[in-house]
Amino acid sequence: MKNLDLDILRKKLDDRLTSTEEEKINLWLESSADNREYFKRMKSYHEKPLEDLSLESVPNTTDLFMKRLNRKSRISIYHKVLQYAAVIVLPLMIGAGLWWYTNAQMEQQLAEQTRIIEQEENNSTVLITSTGKTYELESGIEQAVVEDEGVKIRKYLRAGLKYEKPEVKNQKIAYNTLRTSNRNDYQVELSDGTVVYLNCNSELRYPISFGEGDRRVELRGEAFFDVTKTGKRFTVEVNDMEVEVLGTRFNVMAYDDENSIQTTLVSGKVKVAVNENGIRKSLTLKPGDQASWCHENGTLESKIVNTDLYTSWIDGYFRFENQRLEDVMRNIARWYDVRVFYQNPELKDKRLTGKLHKVDDFKVISSMIEKISGIEIDKNKKAVVISMRK
């Protein structure tokens, strides 16, 4: 089909079409939903009074844009990061008493592990729609990726995905799943305006438009929620735990390799509820509280934390404060999709404090950690070996 002259659409809006033009337009409208959508937008734009199109009324997005730019260019910031490396506080020392694996043993173990890991190479964020279709979400200018059950899903360049509120309420609730892999985080705005930042190697399942009842989503991995107040309850299901809110900002971290699920509340109010062998336990959090649910021990506790430490990942940082090396590395390993091996188990208990940019190159991060910790990090394909500096 040949491209249609835009001017014909304008004539249609002015109701001055000839019959051959009418035919052309109908053909164009029938040929795709995107075309119809464009015509609808053009119509409402055309009806806008000129006063609404003044330059003064354009929203100022400078701050937002600069924030995105900073995130985007964190690789180029790398040199600056090195200058600031001195800011990173020195860790505690560890005692002596090392023992070594024999090199042969170690290498064999690594070879086996890396072979397994290399098989699962998958490097992109995918969206799985209610019909089971899978879309890869790479960057680039694109819009209106998919239309699922009458709900428009749009992909915004920097903002991620956005679900538009449907004009007609759907009877059926259809679900989409967003899945990130390593080195990828992604942002999605749900149909009620709630924004979810999904960290790497995580999965979020959500209705493409919320029905009349409560709002419910399912999470695996880690996500930060900025929930829009609508008067309806918003519930995040994570394994055997639920977080209930009305409108608030909080982070849920529930990676499989962590032994507890951590819910960190930034603002508002949330209720964390667990179901342990039929007995329901719950905790209500205040801003600054963090709840930990350890399924193994059956403990649900809360403590006051510095929430920045647990939410800085959405701004592109790894942050840690007096944390064990093993915990820090687990976080980093997820992002870079590597496996970490310790030559000496005592190394795992070294304490680190610092703030690192999630630069694309693992080498950069590892050299920073080497600098502050007195350890040596060697990477061979996807295996990372941590040893005492010689």
Partner: protein
């Protein structure tokens, strides 16, 4: 103005973020209205504008021969045309281009000499004060307050005149349309 832009351009090549911020702040509104005229969606327009700036930042080593301003408008225009193509549309008579330039008050940007000429002629036919205010605003790039000062009228009066000019120009160019179509056919056949 030009010296200022040259300095800005140099700073940006040196990856000065404050300079880049200033550039964004200066042209964002115009570029946004320009893109919006084409894509008819504020969200999409914002995306296109931001993407153009990000590209510029990532390729800030590229030498820009003409002005930064022209470059930005050209990039946004191209992205808009790409979008139109994705919905099987083409701005054959460049009326959208004319409209986008009028709405965004970017008439002075050299995007298409044919369209510029048409707009210039249409401006010539505007009522006197309207014409003067509009020219000062879009060609000389003066702020509303500066024009008010210069002509000794209120800022509101300047706004009203700019608005009136836009409205008249839009109407004029569209009523000229049938005529323009005729001409372009004649030219093609020759």
């Amino acid at each position: 103005m030009i010296a200022e832009e040259r300095l800005l351009s140099k700073k940006i090549a040196e990856r000065d973020k404050n300079a880049f911020r200033l550039l964004f702040e200066t042209y964002h509104a115009q570029l946004f209205r320009f893109a919006e005229t084409y894509v008819c969606s504020p969200d999409l327009a914002e995306d296109i504008v931001q993407e153009v700036f990000i590209k510029l930042w990532e390729n800030s080593h590229i030498k820009i021969s003409r002005s930064l301003r022209s470059y930005l408008f050209l990039m946004v225009k191209n992205a808009c045309i790409d979008h139109l193509r994705s919905v099987k549309l083409e701005d054959k008579k460049k009326l959208k281009l004319a409209e986008a330039q009028i709405i965004s008050e970017s008439v002075g940007v050299n995007l298409d000499s044919e369209v510029s000429l048409k707009i210039k002629r249409a401006i010539d036919e505007l009522p006197d004060q309207c014409k003067e205010v509009y020219r000062m605003s879009v060609y000389s790039g003066l702020k509303h307050a500066e024009i008010a000062d210069e002509l000794d009228i209120s800022v509101n009066a300047v706004k009203v005149q700019v608005y009136r000019a836009k409205k008249l120009l839009k109407k004029k160019l569209y009523s000229l349309k049938e005529l323009l179509v005729l001409f372009s056919h004649l030219f093609k056949r020759v």
